[in-house]
Amino acid sequence: MDIEEKAEDYIKVEYNPNRPDFSTDYGIVRALKGLLGLEKGCPKYEVHRSDLVVQVDKSVEEVRPYIVSALIEGITLDDETIRQIIAMQEDLHHTIGRRRAKVSIGLHNFDVLKPPIIYTTETPEFRFVPLGGVEPLSMKEILDKTPVGQKYGWIVAKHPRYPILVDSLGQVLSFPPIINGELTRVTSATRNLFIDITATDLKAAEDALAILVTTLADAGGVIRSAEVRYPNLTLLTPNLSEMEMKVELRRVNRLLGLRLKGEEAVECLAKSRIDAEYDGKMLRAKIPRYRVDIMHPVDLVEEVVIGYGLDRLTPTLPPTKSVGRPHPELKRLSAIREVCVGLGLSEVMNLSLTSEAALYTNLGRQMQEAIKVEEPKSSEHEYLRDMLIPSLLLNLSTNIHEPYPQRLFELAKTFHRRGGEIVEEYHLGVITSHSEANYTEAKSLLDAITQQAFGLRCETKPASNPLFIQGRCAEVKGGTLAGIIGEIRPEVLQAFNLRMPAAALELNINQAIKLEAKQHK
């Protein structure tokens, strides 16, 4: 938990998604009481028995098989408490609930209901008045017409029957995970709450229920259980019994770099609101049920250090025998960069993801081999580039008002389809643009780079390519180097709003830097 902002009469805190119990003041207060030493150890919550029964029909197995439940009695709900409970419900929906797909929560005014409660299914034509509505709507209409239906409908839409929660009179509590019924609306006058949590995963449902009921208990409610009767299983929920976990004290100290005594570690855990005993070797911890984030003994190690206070730890610099070194291939790239810079070229860095226009359409290139990401937020970042020159042309295009000559280079990974696989290869792209830029200048640059960076002399054989003027384009070959060179076609220049001639070259240097790397090892 971080403090985001401090003001006169409030502080704003940020909490991590693994701690949904921090989504209300009650959870934060509970943790702070421990850290400040006001109230230590595991908070105790009593679950009172009730005769409430929730019947589960076999038909829910296909669509949303699990439900857990609880009653909260005698709670006083002011507007602020309601706001906070709704915030927690939203947070649980989002995190543990995976946007309601896994878990969804309904809160109801219990006093209008006639138990037992029945969790069953109905056909899409079944009608009831949804929360906030006046007229009954069919469940199908709710999915099609209401905003929540449109957002979450996909979770149940493919099933022939939808889950529904009714009481013994057939009054509708909820159409999980979409919307509650208007009947059970919770207001500041509500005193007794019925909680339903439906899910595709029982453990996740129980986790969410534990977090919710302990918070409602902190808000002044009395927790009462419900008996959930599945066709061949009966559960008493909520189950708030503490989780037991042990960790060796030596492990705690080794990981933290501390020398805590057993009782000190126990005290640290108590401040983190965890009960623990030390048996001379192990710390045996009892973890409150709402701490669903603790799944491994190393999580207890973190609870110890939080209780101890991270700011009390002094940094130490560990000794080492290891010898550092840069990656041999990346070191080669640095050397190539030096040559380019020495030739007066300015380095540019562009993104790997680019648009269809910049990579294909503007250049008259074919798209068969295009590599595309799925569902990008913007079409500006949709295709992985297989070539650097298109990016260099874009760079010239953003700099038309800067003094010429402009000579640019880029060293970066490009993406290619090879025999059903996608491979990544390092390319070097160079472009020169000014009133007298031409093939000869590009070739001079090519010779200088290949000879001074790789000790290779490249041949240039006539070739054709949509980027380059026919008759002023060549294929480059020499040793492990391969590439293309030429004067950019006026049509392409125009597509990029360029008024100056430009000549460019691009080399695949992947093999070359690999060979070199071996020699340098």
């Binding site: 971080d2 990981l255 491994h296 610099l317 290891s322 300015s346 380095e347 993801l353 990401v373 996608i422």
Partner: protein
Amino acid sequence: MQPLHLLEKKVLKTLEKIGEADIEGLSRASNLTLDQVRRAVEWLQAKGLIKVNTSQKTTITLGSKGLEALKEGLPERRLLRSLKEGLRTLNQLKSRFSDEQEFNAALGRAKRRGWIKIVDDCVELVNEPGRLPEEEVLERLSQVNILDEEELTKDTILYSGLKELLNRPDYLSRRVVKTTQITLTDLGRAASEKVSEEEEIDTLTPEIIVSGIWRQKRIRAIDVEAPAPPIYAGRKHPVQLFIDEVREIFVSMGFEEIEGPLIQPCFWNFDALFTPQDHPAREMQDTFYIKGEALNYADAESIKRVAATHRSGWKTGSRGWGYEWREEEARKLVLRTHTTSITIRYLADHRPKEARVFTIGRVFRNEKVTFKNLVEFHQIEGIAVGPRLTLRDLMGLLSTFYKRLGLEKVRFWPTYFPYTEPSMQSVVYYDRAGKWIELCGMGIFRPEVTLPFGVKNPVLAWGGGLERLVMMRYNIDDVRELYANRLSWLRGSPICP
């Protein structure tokens, strides 16, 4: 005194000789082109060596009709002359004129001024005027060819004649002429006296060097204070410079660099890092997926262990996530969302008991681009493995790393990352902005991450975005500027700010 250009010297000397002149005069007298004289005059004027007076006057010359009138007389004079010769009727008189309009104008003017009377078709001479002001003007012009308008206005008779004639087309031609008068100032005279007449070498050429001409002539001094045209150095991109700097820091701390593909199977990007398969970060709206699937991405045993760890913790001591792990999810291809996909693969491949490695590379997030977020950015990441490494060691390594970057004040507090425990966040104090800035996150890899790959010793890990550091270094507020590749920035920003 400032050194003078060859052109300046020639103009000075010429002026000294002829006293005063205009541009044309100087050009004729100095054998320089008009353009050369103009340039020299501009420079000399700026140096205060000459004075340039420009004035303007209006000149009057004879037009074609004016010339004719000078020979034949004004049309009205010709009309009166014909009357005196005895012609009477309008038709008779008209026949003396070639231009009917001219005749009508002359008739009208003579009648208005009361020289003639018209009765029916006959014209009668009433009184013949003496010399007209118009005739006076024409007479003057016949003597001098060109007249200054200002002079004419001094004489009221001539002025009225001038006004009258200017109203008649083609009688007179009136032009505004600008004249320039260039003279030496006292400073200029002194400078001119010092200018030697001998020829100087303007540009040292190979011929001059070889021939030895330079022994006989002086090499002209030039204006060393004058601005020169700009040239631009070839440069590395500022982000690359920063990457080089970070690499050097890691290497100096005993770390070896590793590297790996940008496209990763979900297995290495998520599953191996204990990120459950239904975790929101794995959804398409956060992560870039690419159609296709990875084959042979890991050995069967590792896959089995990861699956078991997700399900129930395997032998790691964890409770696991409690769900059925599916291999087809792990095969899916993504653009890596963090460099940890490279470090975990290193750990799996080498199973080190002790190691220090780092990586710097591009990562991808399917986000809206804003001044704070890019879809593609760089991450730096370091890990240290060793039997006795502790959380305090991690704090020490990171503090050292920051110090090398020039960031002295560091603070740590607990946070959450899915694949480390304990986890910490760090903030550093940034002097220039006068505030604390959140930088690298760090922690010790969870046993659920390391044990399935046979790595038993603690793995300390830290990492974070590179761009934020670059923005701090270069005082940039909008992250998009880093990859806009504006030459004004690439050429203009100093390498050692």
